[in-house]
């Protein structure tokens, strides 16, 4: 019974290593493999960064070559144009027609046959902006359906119908 406890020693029978030593060796092996993988990843990242730098350089060269080509072909270099103003829009004929109908209503009720754009806005509100009214009134003037007859206190313009304009359509006047 004296050595009955020997079989329970920490040594591995085959390699003669203790479990603790084996665990340490396994851990070290994993660490080495992980380190190798990290190096490979770093190498891939470095390689990709180099490719990206080369692509960017290639794009820059392409832009420079395009400029030279445009110069040779006599084309003006492309510059960003002026920002399109929101005031550049044109009012549609449908809108102008609606305003024209409102203008005729206002004039029919007016004592002196004149109107200002505020009166038209009041008739059409809501659903129309002041800018639409202003632009439409200018179109009506261009098409000689209305005429300027004076100014009002505060800076507005007073308008009247052109002779013979009543009942005319906006599109006929445009012709």
């Amino acid at each position: 019974m004296g050595d009955g406890g020997r079989g329970m020693s920490d040594s591995n029978g085959a390699s003669g290593r203790t479990p603790a030593e084996l665990a340490t060796r396994t851990h070290d092996a994993i660490e080495r493999m992980a380190a190798e993988l990290r190096e490979l990843i770093a190498a891939e990242q470095a390689g990709r960064a180099e490719y990206e730098r080369l692509v960017e350089e290639s794009r820059t060269r392409e832009r420079q070559l395009q400029k030279v080509l445009a110069g040779l072909e006599g084309q003006a270099p492309t510059k960003p144009g002026p920002k399109r103003s929101t005031k550049d829009w044109r009012v549609s004929d449908e809108r102008v027609t609606a305003v024209w109908e409102a203008v005729q209503q206002v004039v029919a009720k007016s004592e002196d046959g004149t109107f200002i754009s505020q009166h038209v806005f009041d008739v059409m509100y809501p659903g129309v902006s002041r800018e639409t009214i202003t632009k439409s009134v200018n179109v009506l003037r261009e098409r000689e359906l209305i005429r300027r007859v004076g100014t009002v206190r505060g800076g507005g313009i007073r308008w009247a119908l052109m002779p013979g304009a009543e009942g005319q359509s906006v599109t006929d006047a445009a012709a």
């Binding site: 300027r148 007859v149 004076g150 206190r153 013979g164």
Partner: protein, 149 residues
């Protein structure tokens, strides 16, 4: 709004101006330039009279002759007739203010396409090259319509 010193073609087209003259005319058809200046919110009648004088050169308005109590024309010492400050439209001016081209003529014009517009403009240029009343007024109408000063 402060009163204006002067009047430009862009403020009022010739047609608008002539119709305003009719608006302020008295029962006998003559309109005082002072009345017109007030309607146009001008400081003095001078700007209104200046434009009326130009329009008179082109034959679309005329200035009233001054008469004595017996109805005879009055003259300056140099023999030139005296005028009042009243103006009225001539027949040509009335045609400009109220004239409308006939429906058939308008239809004919409507048939012109964009590509024929240049030819039409060339024809119009030739037609108005004589420097007469129609030329001046056509050019002014063009300037007013395109906002050219």
């Amino acid at each position: 709004m402060p009163q204006r010193e002067r009047l430009t073609l862009l403020d009022y087209s010739d047609r608008e101006f002539l119709l305003l003259l009719e608006d302020v005319a008295e029962a006998d058809g003559w309109a005082d330039s002072e009345e017109l200046a007030v309607r146009l919110d001008l400081k003095t009648r001078r700007s209104a009279s200046q434009r009326l004088s130009w329009l008179a050169r082109w034959g679309v308005v005329e200035k009233e002759h001054a008469r004595d109590h017996t109805g005879n024309l009055r003259y300056h010492r140099d023999g030139k007739p005296m005028h009042t400050q009243r103006w009225r439209l001539t027949d040509a001016g009335r045609a400009l203010a109220y004239g409308e081209i006939k429906a058939r003529q308008r239809q004919a014009l409507d048939r012109f396409g964009d590509e024929q517009l240049l030819e039409l403009t060339r024809w119009l240029t030739g037609r108005t090259r004589d420097g007469g009343m129609a030329t001046k007024l056509a050019l002014r109408e063009w300037k007013h319509g395109h906002g050219i000063r």
